[in-house]
Assembly symmetry: C2
Amino acid sequence: MSRPPAKQRPAPLDRGLLPSLLGYVLRRAQSAVFDDFAATFAAAGEATTPGEFGLLVLVDRNAGLSQMTLARALGIDRSTLVPILDRLQGRGLLVRRRSPTDGRTHALALTPQGAKALARYARLVRRHEQRIAARLSAAEIRTLIDLLERVHRGARSR
Amino acid sequence: MSRPPAKQRPAPLDRGLLPSLLGYVLRRAQSAVFDDFAATFAAAGEATTPGEFGLLVLVDRNAGLSQMTLARALGIDRSTLVPILDRLQGRGLLVRRRSPTDGRTHALALTPQGAKALARYARLVRRHEQRIAARLSAAEIRTLIDLLERVHRGARSR
DNA sequence: TATTGTTATACTCTATAACTATA
DNA sequence: TATAGTTATAGAGTATAACAATA
């Protein structure tokens, strides 16, 4: 029963009530999933965040939408969106076109290169999803998504 | 069956595959829960984040721990922790004491004021938890926490 | 007047690299 | 040499306020 050298037993900290708090467990799971997303993309030589991926999907599925519409869908301020679009546009993934009907707005759209990148990202996301759900059955994944949506609705309504 | 004025039907965007992605649903739930946390605290005239609350609990339950130990437990770099502790110390909630056994480390501890604040925060967190779980039974909450922990472990192991 | 996109500004969270005191 | 805490610095995400162009 000899123990290995063990330079310094880390001695896990007492977390008190934290592990029983839904908010805490949710936050930690989210953080681990974010790390896995980044690692999956990095392993494929890509550098794109979950937020950027979601944005690209929205632009792809709703071509021509305005920045205000997109910002509302993302739940961020319109000024926050500007540098994000600047970066994506700088990477050649999307363009801001003039709207023909309203001179104040931009019509956003993916470039052909952006559409190709999105298809690549979608494959990586599928791989990432398989990893994070590896310990769950298909039924459990559905249950989890359902419970999370109910938490979302409960938290939103105040 | 006349519709109310409705200045501009927002026409919900097409989110494509996003709602079927665990990572996406998780991120949205987390964001809504964070907002609810902030709103609950703001309504009570308090301004403390989930991260700060978690940190205070760890210091409370593990008095005398070092900044490195705390940083590891939080999953952040030691340099990231410095301004966070500066702020909490500035608010009079915790202190950095000299460690008597190792001159390189600080022994962190809550002040009496910090302990009182933490008790106040814990009551608010309980209220917040009731809100976000309002649509879930006790059994469902347990299931959700269990599933999230399994996602956490699955995402971590690579 | 109201809306859209932009800019200026500020704050927080995050990290890496380099410095210092101590072990 | 190695570790702990700090500082300098930088990047991303977030916001508010004010401005120009357009409706």
